[in-house]
C-alpha cells in the first residue's frame, strides 16, 4: 500500500505492517478527538517515524495514487482537525 506523508513524499508499505500502524493511527484519532495536543504530536511523530522506517520511499517522479495520507510532521492538532472537517484539504 502507498502512503503519502504530506510535504515529504510517498512510501510503499507492506500490508503486514498495518496492524502496528493501525494502533498508532487509532491512538492519534482518539487524541485528536480529546484535544490532547501534546499526545497528538507525540503519536504523530511516532507514526511518521514508523512509516519512514518500515516503508520504501517512492521516487519523486512516480505517479502512484496514495491510498493513505498522513499529515506533515509539523501539522498541529487544529490544522489536522480542519483538514478532516467539511472543508477538507482543498478548499471548495
Amino acid at each position: 500500500m502507498i502512503v503519502r506523508i504530506m510535504g515529504e513524499g510517498q512510501v510503499e508499505l507492506a500490508d503486514s505492517h498495518f496492524a502496528e500502524l493501525n494502533k498508532l493511527d487509532d491512538e492519534l484519532l482518539a487524541e485528536m478527538q480529546r484535544g490532547d495536543g501534546e499526545g497528538f504530536r507525540r503519536t504523530l511523530h511516532a507514526l511518521l517515524d514508523t512509516v519512514r522506517q518500515l516503508g520504501e520511499p517512492l521516487p519523486d517522479d512516480s505517479l502512484e495514487p496514495s491510498e493513505l495520507i498522513l499529515p506533515s510532521p509539523d501539522a498541529t492538532l487544529d490544522e489536522v482537525r480542519a483538514m478532516l472537517s467539511d472543508d477538507g484539504l482543498i478548499p471548495g
Partner: protein
C-alpha cells in the same frame, strides 16, 4: 484502518476529484501551467540580460574614467615639467576625485557581476525545472488519457453487466411465468377431471354426458341409415330411365360439361 490516515486519504481523494472535475480538462490546466512557467523563465532571462547591459554600461564608464585619469596624470607631469606646480597639483587632485569614482564603480561592477551570475544560475535551474515539468506534464497527460480510457472500458463493462443482469431478470421472470402457467394448467386439468370445475370450452365431458351423447349419436345413425335406404329404393327407377336415353335437359347439359372437361384435360 479507520483513523486519521484513512479519513485524510478519503477526503483528499474526494476533494482532488472534485477539483479535477471542475477543471474542464486537467491536461489543459497542465499546459496552461507550463505556459506560465515558460513566461516566468522568459522574465528571468530578461532580468539576466538587463543586469548584463548595466554591467557593460559600468565597464564603459570605468574605461572613460580611467582614460580621463591617465590624461590628468599626463597633464600633471607636463605641468610639472614646465614648472607649473600649481597646474600639476590641480590635475592630480582632479585625478584623485576620478579615482574615487572608479573605485565606487568597480564595487558596483563586482556586485552586478555577482548578481548576473546568480541570475544566470537561477535561469539555468528554472530551465531544468521547466523541462522536468514538461516531461512530467506529458506523463500525467498520458496517464490521464489512459485512466480515461480505463474508466470508459470499466463503464462499458458495468453497462454490459447491467444489461446482462436485466436479461437474466427477464429470463427468470419468463421462466417463473411459464412455470406458474404450467402449474395452473395442471391444476385446472385436475379440477376439470374431478368435476370440481365446469368446463366452459365444452371439450371436457363427464361420464354421464358422454353416455347420453353416445346414445343420442346412435339414434342419429339409425335415422340416417333409414333415410339412405329409402333413397336407394327410389333411385333404381331413375337409373333405368337414364340408360334408355330419356334424360332431362339438365342431365344432358351435365353430361356435355363432363365430356368437355375430359377433352380439355387430354
Amino acid at each position: 484502518m479507520s483513523g486519521v490516515m484513512k479519513r485524510m486519504g478519503m477526503i483528499f481523494r474526494a476533494k482532488a476529484n472534485k477539483a479535477l472535475d471542475r477543471a474542464e480538462d486537467p491536461r489543459e490546466t497542465l499546459d496552461y501551467s507550463y505556459q506560465k512557467q515558460l513566461e516566468l523563465l522568459q522574465k528571468v532571462r530578461r532580468g539576466v540580460a538587463d543586469v548584463a547591459t548595466s554591467r557593460k554600461r559600468l565597464e564603459l564608464q570605468l574605461n572613460q574614467l580611467q582614460s580621463q585619469s591617465s590624461k590628468l596624470e599626463d597633464q600633471g607631469r607636463k605641468a610639472l615639467a614646465l614648472g607649473r606646480e600649481d597646474l600639476a597639483r590641480e590635475a592630480l587632485s582632479r585625478r584623485a576625485a576620478l579615482q574615487q569614482q572608479v573605485t565606487d564603480l568597480e564595487t558596483q561592477h563586482q556586485t552586478l557581476q555577482g548578481e548576473e551570475e546568480k541570475l544566470t544560475l537561477a535561469a539555468q535551474r528554472l530551465q531544468a525545472k521547466v523541462d522536468a515539468f514538461r516531461t512530467k506534464k506529458e506523463t500525467i497527460k498520458a496517464t490521464y488519457t489512459a485512466a480515461q480510457a480505463q474508466t470508459r472500458i470499466a463503464e462499458s463493462f458495468s453497462g454490459i453487466s447491467e444489461e446482462m443482469s436485466d436479461v437474466g431478470v427477464a429470463i427468470q421472470r419468463a421462466e417463473d411465468k411459464t412455470a406458474q402457467l404450467q402449474a395452473r394448467a395442471g391444476a385446472i386439468d385436475e379440477l376439470l377431471a374431478s368435476g370440481a370445475l365446469d368446463d366452459q370450452s365444452g371439450l371436457q365431458k363427464d361420464d354421464i354426458q358422454a353416455e347420453l351423447d353416445r346414445l343420442s349419436g346412435g339414434t342419429d345413425v339409425e335415422l340416417e341409415l333409414q333415410r339412405m335406404r329409402a333413397e336407394l329404393a327410389g333411385g333404381s327407377t331413375s337409373q333405368q330411365a337414364l340408360e334408355g336415353g330419356a334424360g332431362t335437359p339438365q342431365d344432358q347439359a351435365q353430361q356435355q360439361s363432363q365430356s368437355q372437361t375430359r377433352f380439355d384435360k387430354s
